[in-house]
Each structure stands twice: as C-alpha cells, then as structure tokens.
Amino acid sequence: MAKAYDHLFKLLLIGDSGVGKTCLIIRFAEDNFNSTHISTIGIDFKIRTVDIEGKKIKLQVWDTAGQERFKTITTAYYRGAMGIILVYDITDEKSFENIQTWMKSIRENASAGVGRLLLGNKCDMEAKRKVQKEPADKLAREHGIRFFETSAKSSTNVDEAFSSLARDILLKSGARRLGDGSKVSSGALQPYDRKNASKCSLG
C-alpha cells in the first residue's frame, strides 16, 4: 500500500509566480491540466510513485508559491528537498532572468549538493516564445544541471523531467556515480532538448 515503494524522494519546484509550477505538478501527479491560474498559497505537495531503474520511487513533489510574500514560508522547505526544479516561462523573459535569483536562493537555503533541474515551461506556446533554448541551455550548462522545455498543457517532457531528476537522485543516493553522463534518461533527455540533455551533473 502506502509503503509499497523503495525510496522516498522529495522534490521542490521554485520559480516566478505564474510560470506553471503548480500545473507541472498537477500534470505529473494527476495527469490533469487547468489553464486558469490560481496562485499557490504558500506551500503544498503532491505524491506520485514512479518506476525508475527497476525501483519504485515515491516522489513527494513540493509546490511553492512564486509570490514574494510567501518567501519566508517557502524557503523553509528548501532544506528538506533532495531535488529542486527551477521553472521559468518561455514566454516570459523576466521569469528566465530571475532564475539566477532562484539559484541564489537555493544556495542560501538548500542543502549543499541538492539535485537541480531547469525547466522552461509553456513550450506549447511557441508563438509567444520570448526565451530561446540556447541561453537556457547555456545557463544550465554553467550550473551543470539538466534542462528541459516542458509543457504542462501538452504534457511535453513533464514525466521525463521529473524522472530525470529522480534518477539522478537515485543514482547519487546509490553511492554509485556512474558518471554524470552515463545516466539516464533515455527518455528524459531525448524528447525535447537533446541539446540540453547534456550535462547531468548530479551535483
């Protein structure tokens, strides 16, 4: 039942308000989507168990409010996260610029060596794209993390992104680092961003 899994990983999503963090989580955990934006209040989480490398991984995915007013609440949850997903909106330049700020927040509040992942959400809205892949890919590379462009609306890369991070954590926790590149994600990396796919530095 509730304990029928091998590992429990805690992931945390951060990013500006309105980039689609909650939608990504709902898509991932419940395979659902609602386009109406309701800003998250403070903090919340959802659960989904996935199979990775033959292991059942129970993912507790924490959703945070992007609004500044909830900052004090949300930062308290950084510490417990084993993986943090930074999300921006490809149609919102500002949200991408702020990724640096969020990175800083991670450095200040999260455990050292926490797994990270960069997501450019709303990639279904190509017509409104403001942020190209290249800079994002570059940014991810600089930080040594993976990058995906996702769409909660179309389900693009959502499972792949979460699985990718979970896999990284699993491998890391396994104390066996086969090598950053080795991993993974056949699925994760391929789909969308092969460019980005790259670097998976677990750290």
Binding site: M1, A2, K3, Y5, L8, A29, E30, D31, I38, I41, G42, I43, D44, F45, I47, K58, Q60, I73
Partner: protein, 903 residues
C-alpha cells in the same frame, strides 16, 4: 528453550558491565527494572542516566524503562511497573515478549508490532483489584480512575500480588496466565495476544471501543474522555470532546439526531429511554436548567424566557468566537462557556435544538432536551478543559486545528498525557459548570446508567454489526457514533451517517445562513413583530441565526479542521459529502422554499413568527447538529422542509415540529428507518452536479468559520467546492467507506489471530520448560508478528484516512484564505488580516501534517523492513538451535505477509 535461551543470552550480553544486573533467567532477573534500563542505556545512553539508578527502586526503574521505551522508541509497554513491584516473580511470558521487542528494536530497529496490541494491563489494578482482591481495590480504584496516571504501586501491588500468587490463586488467572489480566470493559480475562493497554488499563482489543459509536478504537484515532476507561474516536473527539466527553452530551444531541438518522434501533431506544428518563427526571430540572443554560433550547422551542435576548446575544457572541475556532471548539467552547458562564445557551442551544426536534411534540420534550444538556454539563467539565483548549484554539484557529490533529497522531504517551490533562481538567470544568450539574444531577446519573446501557447495547449491536458489516447498525449507532465513528472502521456506518450528517449540517448551515441573515434582518423586525410570545421565539431565532452562523462556521471548521471530530466526519464525509451534497441540494431547495419562506413570512408577517420559530427550531436543531456533527442535522434537514409548513402555528410548530421532525420519532425505532432511507436516497440519488452544490455548501462552512459567519462564507463556498472536488477525485483517493471496509477486514483477521493466540498462550504456559516450548515460542513470535503486520496495515489505513481528511481541510482553508486574500488590501480590517494570518498558519500546518504522515510512513517502512528481517532471523536462529528446521520462516513469513494484506 533454545529460542528463549537465545533471547536470554542476548540480554545478558546487553547488560554486561552494568552494575547490579545479572541475567540468569527471564523472570526475577528483570524484576528490579535495571536490566531493561541497561539494555536501553546500552543503545541509547542519552535516554537514561543509568548511574543514577538504584536497585531498590523497583517501581521507578521499571517505570522509567517502560516509559522511555514507549515514548522514545515506540515500544509498547507490555509490562506494568507496578506488576514488577507486586510480583516477586514476574510473568515469564510477558517478560519474554517484552524483551523480544527490545531485541527487535535494537537489532531489527523495530519493536514487534504485535506487542503493541498485547500491552500489559497496568490497569488491572482497578478492574482486577475490584474483582479479585478487595483490599487493594480501594486504592486501586482511585488510581485506576486516573487510568492515565499510573496507579500507585500499592494499589497495584495488591493486585499484582494477587497476580503473582494469582496465577495459582485466581482461578481465571491461574488457568491462562500468571499475570492478572481482566478486561476493563467486559471483566473477563485478557490473554496476551489480546492485550490492549490504555492509560494503565487493560482491555481486550475488541472491547476497546468508542464510548460514542462503539466502534473499535484504533491506534491514533481515539482519545480519552473525562471518564476513566471511556474513550472516543478522535473524530468524535473534537466534536465529541464536549459531547463525547460525556456520552451524555452526545446522547442528548444525538438522541435527536440519532433517531433521525438511521437511528439504530437499540441505540435509539436507549437514547429514547435515556432521554425519557432524563426528561422525566430532568424535566423539572431541565426547565430551570433550560432557563439558565438551556436558553438555546428554550429559544428553539419558544422558551422565550430563556431565550431572552441576552442569552441569544451570549450565544451569538460565544458562537461567533467558536466559529473561528471551529465546530469542535465552538461546541465545546459553548458548553464550556455555558458551564463557566452559567450560560448553557450555546450548548443548550444545540441540545435544545435537538430536544426541540424531539420535543416538538410537547414542550416537555424540550425539557427532555434540557436533560440531555445536563449531560453536556458533565461533558462540559471534561470539555471545559477541552473547551479552554478549544477556546484558545479558537483564538488561534490555526493553532487549534494543528494542535488537534497532532494530538490524534501523538503517540500513546502523549495521548495519555492529554487524557490525563483532560481528566484533571474535566473535574474542574464540572465545578465551573455547576449549573449544568446542579440542574441535572439526577439526570447525569440516569444518563450514565442509560449511557452505559446504551453503550453496551450499541457495542453489542455494533459488534454484531461489525461482524456482519451491516451498515444499518452502524447507522443506528451513528447517532451515537456520529462524532467518533468516522475514523473507526466499524464506525464506518456511523462515519457515513456522521458524514451525511455533516453535509446535512453543512447544508443546513448554508441554509441556516440565509435564515440567519433573514433572522438577523428580521431579528429586529421579528422582535418587533414577535410581540407575542414569539418575542422569545424571535430572540431564539436570532440566537439561532447567530448560532447558525456560528454553527456553520464551526461545521466547516469541523470538516476542514481535521480536528478529530471533524475529521471523523470529514473522513467519511468526503465520500459522503458527494452523496450528501446532492441531498443537500435537494434539501437546500426544500429549505429555500420552506425555510426562507417561513422566515420571510415572519419578517413580513408578524403572525408568521410562529412558523419562523418552527423553522428556527428546525434550523436550530440543524445548527446544533452541525455543531455536534450529529446525524440529526441531516435528518432534520430533510424534515425541515416539511416541518416549516407544518409549524405555522407556534403551538402547532412545537407539535408539528415533532411530527415533522423525525427527531421526535427518533425515540421511536421507526424514525430510524426513515432516516436511513433518506440518507441512502440522498447519497445515491443525487447526481454529480448536485455534488458541486454540496461541496459548495461544505466549503462555505469552512469559509464561514473564518469569523465571517454569514454572508462571506456562503459566497466563497462555491469556489471552494471546485477545489474540494479534486481531492475526492484525485487518483489515490479512497472512499472512506472503502477504508472502513478494509479496516473491518483487518479487524476480522485480528480477531481470528487473537483466537489462535489465546490457544497458543495456554499451550505455552502449559509447556513451561518442556521440550516443545521452543517450537511454541517460535509459533508465538510468528503469531505476534502476524498481528504486527495487521496492525501495520491498519495504521496505514488510518493514515490514509487522516491524510484525506487533511486534504479536505486544506481545501477548506485554502478556499477561505483565497477569499480573504482576494479582498483589496485597503479594505481589509485588522481582523481580516489577523484571520488571514491565522488561516495561513493553519494552512501551512495542515500541509505539514500531511507531510508528516508521508515521513512517518516512510520511517515505518524502513523500520518494518528491518523488523521483518530481524524477526525472521531470530526465529530461524531459534529453530537452528533446536536443530529442528521445522519452519521455513521465509516462506511462512512471505505467506503471512501476503495473507495479512487485506487487499
């Protein structure tokens, strides 16, 4: 012997180097408690200061070890420190079993769960003593009463002595075990496997039932009432706390409700009897009381006097505060307040309401309600402490909620402490609530007796029901159970009922709100209009309206709050709500027509007042129901529509109300069936579309809670509805009924397992030292482990249920929060801001509580993993020693674990 020897060997190794400890056997070597302390200290030196221990302090040493092990390590205290003092030769099997838990914990990192259920009965003192040895009894009794508090060694010693010698002396004991052990409920011998130690009292696990709903109390889902040996489901708790605290209070409320709902026949009858008795006895008193505290009742029925506006105001005031706190709190608070203030209005109001339903036939009936109220008074005492807590909680809504929930989860230790606190507090409360007491002294006794009878009845019925899984009984019980049941599997029916009630209540609340508003607006009008006797009615209406508004908030709170009572409702409610909601809609429609019109009429037409009153009365009952979370609300709701029409005349209303309100029938068995049907219909009949409305209703309540009782709440509710639905729909959502069903399955398996355990224990004791003892021992440990697995499953289900409740609550809180936050910053009053902050805190706490469950489950998972391995190793080791590889444990275990999984 090998297995035992191995365990003994392990103990010796653990205790090596520790002063004054020499393990040479599995009995007297442990008597002074130092061995336990040494083992604990070896692994957790931070928990015990071994150097400070003295060999002479047998009681202290043992108590320390047992407490530390239970509170810090989660190893249930199978043994009782007082027994260790009293028994020159401690019970070997008990020591073995207990020590095996240490072994498992420190080697497997987990206690043999099975033992949890096998806890030794410290409480024996009371029961046993009373039954067995006279001398000690007196002392014991006092001690035992506190159940929570460990009885003095003296008291127990006597009992213990008996035990020690007991095995030989006491016929029963002799037969099965050296350890004295009689069930606190049934008075019969409790075998090791059946042991359920709670607050120092021993019970058969199957006897450990909710005082309210008589459903079996599960770990983490019950709380102590003010009365020793009386426990209630946590769900009932918050609500019940006040109510449950004393079954009387519940009874009072429930009676009306019960009948209405499904009305378990037996229960109903009992209640009726109770009520009748109470009414008879209390009738005279009741009125006085009613006047004082029963204001609510009065108002409902038209006791204009009591209803006097002041009371109403008091209600409103109190209510208002409570709403924030929540239903549970508010009810309690109201009660408390009553007791303290002497204004029983709030409580009385609910009771009165209920009574009104009952009483509809005759005003006397009201007096009866008053009687019930007295009961509340008793509860109040208990509740008082709670109330205070509730009050505080109310003040800190978030805090209160969070606090409540935690309690549920808190370990047994904390629970006991809480229980103790309550216990102590309750006494105080009584004093505070002199009014209630004084008026009802006679009643209270009658109630108690009636309660006991009723309880016993219910239990029997339930037991039967449970076994059968009959919902009907459950329902009947529901009235009783209404509060508590939700959590308990057995309660399921009750839970359903309760849940339905909740929805109803909600619906009623929503309905009420309109009425309330109307009444409010009317109040002035009505007051003016109600020149006649109605003035009182008007006041009552107002008060009702207020109460309604309050109630509503509370109701929402209860749902959202997750507080135990609420939770219980919530649990069930979710599923129920969906069903109920439809009903609610219907009801609402009906209400809208019925209620509104009457009220409207009242407002417009002076004459109408009577109708309004009736409506109010109805409303009021509902409101109470809501507060209490009793099924009545639902029943009433349905009735209400009808009644309103009938209740046009004042006098008529009363009579009509009775007639109209099934509640009056509740006394009658017949009433129950109707309610059942209704509930069933509601649940099933309404389409999903209705659900939305229902949800909205529910949500509104939560919204109301905030402090804005009336308008805002209803408005916001709708949005919340949308929110809430997701919870139910979410992929992993398991209907409360399903959870209950699974819990019942587990219970059956546990029963069967205990049955085997009893036989095995007898064999074990008979085989003392014999060659086959090892085999038996292995079998014993396996059985214990099996029980452990079942208990694990049970706890998982309980967590699941809890989680779902929290999710619902979170939705409710979120809805309310969003409403508040949507308000332009400039327009927010200081109260709005404060409320917003409170809600936010509650919200975050709720999320954290959910997360805590995730963590707890994960810890359990890891522990159990090791635990299973350890146990297997241990058993295999024993077998190896015997050199009789009879058992292939791995296979056995595998099978067991599989078999254990109900689903």
């Amino acid at each position: 012997m090998a297995a035992i020897k191995a365990l003994q060997q392990w103990c010796r190794q653990q205790c090596e180097g520790y002063r004054d400890v020499d393990i040479t056997n599995m009995t007297t070597s442990f008597r002074d408690g130092l061995a336990f302390c040494a083992i604990l200290h070896r692994h957790r030196p931070d928990l015990i200061n071994y150097s400070a221990l003295r060999k002479e302090n047998v009681y202290e040493n043992n108590k320390l070890a047992f407490c530390v092990a239970e509170e810090q390590l989660g190893i249930p205290a199978l043994l009782d420190a007082e027994d260790m003092v009293a028994l020159k030769v401690p019970d070997r099997l008990s020591i073995l079993t207990y020590v095996s838990q240490y072994y498992n914990y420190f080697h497997g990192r987990s206690p043999i769960g099975g033992m949890a259920g096998i806890k030794r009965p410290p409480s024996d003192a009371e029961e046993e003593s009373s039954g067995k040895k006279a001398p000690s009894v007196p002392a014991k009794l006092p001690m035992s009463t506190p159940a929570q508090a460990l009885p003095p060694s003296a008291a127990r010693t006597s009992s213990v002595v008996q035990r020690t010698s007991g095995s030989p002396k006491a016929g029963q004991r002799v037969a099965s075990s050296a350890v004295s052990s009689t069930c606190g409920v049934c008075g019969k011998h409790v075998h090791l496997v059946q042991r359920h130690l709670v607050d120092g009292r021993l019970y058969h696990r199957s006897c450990f039932r909710c005082k309210q709903c008589s459903s079996t109390l599960r770990s983490g889902a019950y709380r102590a009432t003010g009365e020793p040996g009386n426990f209630v489901c946590t769900s009932h708790h918050s609500k019940a706390t006040s109510v449950n605290a004393t079954s009387l209070a519940l009874a009072a409320k429930q009676p009306g409700a019960t009948p209405v709902d499904s009305g378990a026949p037996s229960i109903l009858q009992k209640f009726q009897e109770m009520n009748g008795q109470a009414a008879a006895a209390a009738a005279p008193k009741a009125q006085p009381a009613a006047q004082k505290s029963a204001v609510g009742n009065v108002t409902a029925k038209g006791f204009t006097r009591t209803t006097s506006e002041p009371p109403a105001s008091t209600f409103s005031v109190r209510v208002g505060s409570p709403p924030g706190s929540r239903l549970p709190a508010s009810p309690v608070a109201s009660r408390l307040e009553h007791s303290t203030t002497g204004t029983h209005v709030t409580n009385s109001a609910p009771v009165g309401w209920t009574s009104s339903t009952r009483g509809p036939v005759t005003n006397n009936s009201q007096s009866a309600p008053g009687v019930p109220e007295p009961c509340p008074a008793v509860p109040q005492g208990r509740g008082t402490s709670r109330v205070s807590a509730a009050v505080t909680k109310l003040g800190l809504n978030s805090g209160s909620l969070g606090a409540v929930d935690p309690q549920d989860w808190t370990p047994s230790a904390s629970r006991t402490q809480q229980a103790r606190e309550r216990f102590f507090q309750s006494p105080a409360a009584p004093s505070s609530g002199p009014l209630a007491k004084t008026p009802f002294p006679a009643d209270s006794p009658s109630r108690d007796s009636s309660r006991e009878q009723a309880l016993s009845f219910i239990r029997k019925a339930l037991s039967g029901v449970e076994a059968a899984g009959t919902q009907v009984p459950g329902r009947s019980s529901p009235a009783m159970n209404s509060c508590p049941k939700t959590e308990h599997p057995k309660a399921v029916p009750a839970g359903k009922l309760s849940q339905p009630d909740v929805p109803h209540t909600l619906s009623s609340t929503s309905r009420m709100e309109p009425s309330a508003r109307l009444s409010v607006g009317n109040t002035s009008q009505s007051s003016g209009l109600s020149k006649m006797d109605k003035s009182s009615a008007v006041s009552s209406q107002i008060s009702r309206a207020v109460t309604d508004s309050r109630l509503k908030p509370e109701a929402p709170m209860a749902k959202g709050p997750s507080t135990s009572p609420q939770q219980s409702q919530e649990d069930g409610p979710e599923g129920w709500r969906a069903r109920l909601k439809p009903v609610e809609k219907k009801l609402l429609a009906g209400r809208a027509n019925l209620v509104p019109s009457p009220r409207a009429k009242e407002l417009k037409e002076p004459q109408v007042p009577a109708e309004p009153k009736a409506g109010d009365a109805l409303m009021a009952p509902r409101a109470p129901v809501k507060a209490s979370g009793s099924p009545q609300g639902g029943i009433r709701i349905t009735l209400t529509p009808v009644q309103p029409a009938q209740t046009q005349g004042h006098t008529g209303p009363g009579t009509r109300l009775p007639a109209a309100s099934p509640s009056s029938y509740p006394r009658r068995r017949l009433a129950i069936p109707p309610t059942l049907d209704v509930s069933a219909n509601w649940l099933q009949s309404e389409p999903s579309g209705q659900k939305n409305q229902a949800q909205s209703w529910e949500k509104p309540h939560s919204q109301d809670n905030p402090g804005r009782p009336l308008g805002p709440a209803s408005m916001p509710a709708l949005p919340e509805k949308t929110m809430s639905s997701p919870v139910r729909l979410h992929p992993d959502y398991v209907p409360q009924e399903e959870i209950e069903r699974q819990l019942q399955d587990i219970e059956k398996q546990l029963d069967a397992l205990e049955h085997r355990g009893v036989a095995l224990e007898q064999q074990l004791r008979a085989a003392d030292g014999a060659a086959e003892e090892d085999d038996l021992m292995v079998a014993w440990f396996r059985l214990v482990h099996e029980k452990q697995l079942l208990l694990r499953l049970e706890s998982e289900l309980m967590y699941k249920s809890k989680t779902q409740r929290l999710e619902e609550r979170q939705l409710d809180l979120e809805g309310e929060l969003r409403r508040l936050m949507a308000k332009p910053e400039g327009l927010k009053s200081p109260q709005d801001r404060r409320r917003e902050q409170e809600l936010l805190n509650q919200y975050v706490n709720t999320v954290n509580d959910r997360s805590d469950i995730v963590d707890i489950l994960d810890e359990d998972r890891l522990r159990e993993k090791e635990e299973d391995q350890v146990l297997q190793d241990m058993i295999q080791k024993l077998d190896m020693q015997k050199k009789k590889p009879k058992f292939r444990l791995s296979k056995i275990w595998g099978q067991k674990s599989k078999s254990c999984h109900p689903e």
